[in-house]
Amino acid sequence: MSTQAIAIEDAKTGEVTEAVYEHPFVVRLCHWVNAVSLFVMAGSGLQIFRAFPSFGAKIPQKDLLNWPKAFAIGGWLGGALQWHLTFMWIYLATGLVYVGYQVFSGNYKQVLFVSRDVPGVWPMVRHYFLFGPKPPVREAYNPLQKHAYTSAIGLGVLSVLTGFAVWKPVQLSWLAWMMGGFHWARVWHFLIMWAILAFVFGHLVMVVLHGWNNFVSMLTGWKKDPEYLPK
């Protein structure tokens, strides 16, 4: 653990609690900008999908999912494309700043899922989903969280790559080819969006269940009285 713990003394009672600076400024900034970007990208993407809600032929067209307009952004295809083609740059820039910062600051070590975390995954799954005993908490992120957050970054990268293949299937024909051509790139782009939304759903559930302390730390950087500090 590279994060520094401090002791906070209550001026009146003299009671001491510990706090850890968990999330550096760049990480918090990227997190909240990305929350907005993801919302806009998914909403406008679903409005774009409404223009041809299918992956088959145009003739005869079999609609897969007539997504309700209430959950879409942009109002019409042209409007949605404006949102999508604007926020994709914000989404991309945020991703690059985040990954760049994590790598160069070394902060990635607290969240990157590595082989040493593998044995800890099953006990956490058992605890979360099968009412198993709670494994001891030793770090800011448990192995399952590391897996989830590392996967989310991987999905983010894939969303950008599939998006570029859909947007530029000719200039980036090698990228589209790797995904099976334009047609399949559009399918992957769509599926990856749902995978990201599934992550976001799980993430929000966990915040609601456990997380006022976690929520505050993503705002101020500081987490009071974290479980993983030695008592």
Partner: protein, 239 residues
Amino acid sequence: MTSRTDDRKFKRMSRRELLKLTPVLALGAFAIPALQRPLLRAGLGFSDWASARLFRSGHLAPTFADSDLTPFSKFPLNSYDVDDPEVDFDIWTLTVAGAVREPGDYKLAQIQALPKVTQNTRHVCVEGWDVIGNFGGVRLSDFLIMIGADTTARFVTVECADDYYESLDMATALHPQTLLCYEMYGQPLTREHGAPLRLNIPTKIGYKQAKYLTDLKVTNVLERAGYWEDQGYSEFYGL
């Protein structure tokens, strides 16, 4: 190992860290109606600028085997207005104007006298569907040479029998796969597919591939970008 601090100081420190996030609120500008339009225009403009940078004159769009072709009967029609603007083929000409040495009316036979090119390329609609079609015609670049176009001009614009209009950046107009197309699937263009002459541009999105051409102009000034572009679609939309 741990440093000590009192709780008031910690609260001030936390508040300061929270306030550092205020730049995120700048994204709220997108929710302000008066700012939303110009911001999205700027975003789309940036995407178009990046698209033009990504475009490579020598890079060819993928081509396909005949066995990959979408059957002609399943090649969709997306007319914005009418399927058939009732062009009179007997008197049809392509009217050429602008920065060219030889403006005037060109007959279909004059265009067809240029070297013929056929290609199986993917047609991608902005709606999201795509088909692989067979297109035959002449290179727009050959035609531009024939009419003595100033290829240092920035745009080629076209007008159509159904009041549709479009524009192309010169780099795309000169691309070897950009065709003045008069055949699909080895047959003369049918009326609903844009007879007698349409654009086929495998490096562009579908709405750029105007049908029922009547006028072509070489110009440096774009008075209007295109039927859909002027309603908010991307002006460049290169694939």
